[in-house]
């Protein structure tokens, strides 16, 4: 979005949708960063060896997904409040046909990247390169990468349009 200032200078600002995607991207990075930090700690402590390790990965994954949903809702509410206070212009968070189209395209990319990552993980498992526990973590890592790429694609679509 381009705004013209009083002195005639043109400045490019982010639209509400772009900011929303940006916030989602930062939330994803922080969430997976914290998850990765904890998993690395568990790995260094040797807690991920054996069948208990698989259980730990399973539990951690559910905490990540559940926590992710809660964090996303809280961040979404906070963003709406802060955005309307800062911009002093309340625009309802709507999801119109353009947003749905971009969501769909982003989801396509997420599925494509995740499918590729899953295939790579299965290849790693088949070739016995990594321990099965680490392959699970590799799958979660590709899930993270897919989400980040999906958000970046959405941001790109909002910036450039189609």
């Amino acid at each position: 979005m381009t705004k013209i200032k009083r002195d005639g200078r043109k400045i490019t600002t982010m639209s509400q949708q772009e900011r929303r995607v940006g916030v989602s991207l930062i939330t994803t990075l922080i969430m997976f960063g914290v998850f990765g930090f904890y998993m690395l700690g568990f790995y260094q402590d040797g807690a991920m060896d054996g069948s208990d390790g698989y259980r730990l990965i399973g539990k951690s994954f559910f905490i990540l997904v559940g926590g992710g949903i809660v964090v996303s809702i809280v961040v979404h509410i906070l963003f709406t409040i802060i955005h309307s206070i800062v911009t002093k212009d309340y625009e309802p968070m709507m999801n119109d046909e353009r947003d749905k189209l971009f969501d769909l395209k982003s989801m396509q990319i997420i599925l494509l990247v995740f499918s590729f990552g899953f295939m790579v993980s299965m290849g790693v498992l088949a070739l016995d390169v990594l321990a099965p526990g680490l392959v699970f973590l590799l799958i979660i890592f590709f899930m993270f990468i897919a989400n980040v790429i999906g958000d970046v694609v959405k941001l790109f679509l909002y910036r450039g349009g189609i």
């Binding site: 979005m1 639209s15 509400q16 949708q17 625009e91 709507m94 119109d96 046909e97 353009r98 947003d99 909002y158 450039g160 349009g161 189609i162």
Partner: protein, 77 residues
């Protein structure tokens, strides 16, 4: 074998002029009347996004004119 040549064209619109003719209607007002975000109206005006047929009809309805008066399809070379 029959060769199919695809017609390549571009959708252009007169929304900006129509808004001006309708008491300088703002993008926000048009967005509220058609039930989309202001950013979507901006993207349509700049021809960066082609709306669905339903939204195109809604926009034409707001201005009280036919679809052809709002949108036109220009065929390139």
């Amino acid at each position: 074998m029959v060769k199919r040549e695809m017609i390549k064209g571009q959708i252009t619109n007169n929304i900006r002029r129509l808004r001006f003719d309708h008491d300088e209607m703002t993008q926000k007002q048009l967005a509220e009347k058609t039930g989309v975000s202001r950013q979507t109206i901006v993207a349509i005006e700049k021809a960066k996004y082609s709306p669905s047929l339903e939204l195109a009809f809604q926009i034409a309805h707001v201005f009280g004119c036919s679809l052809g008066d709002v949108f036109s399809y220009e065929i390139g070379d």
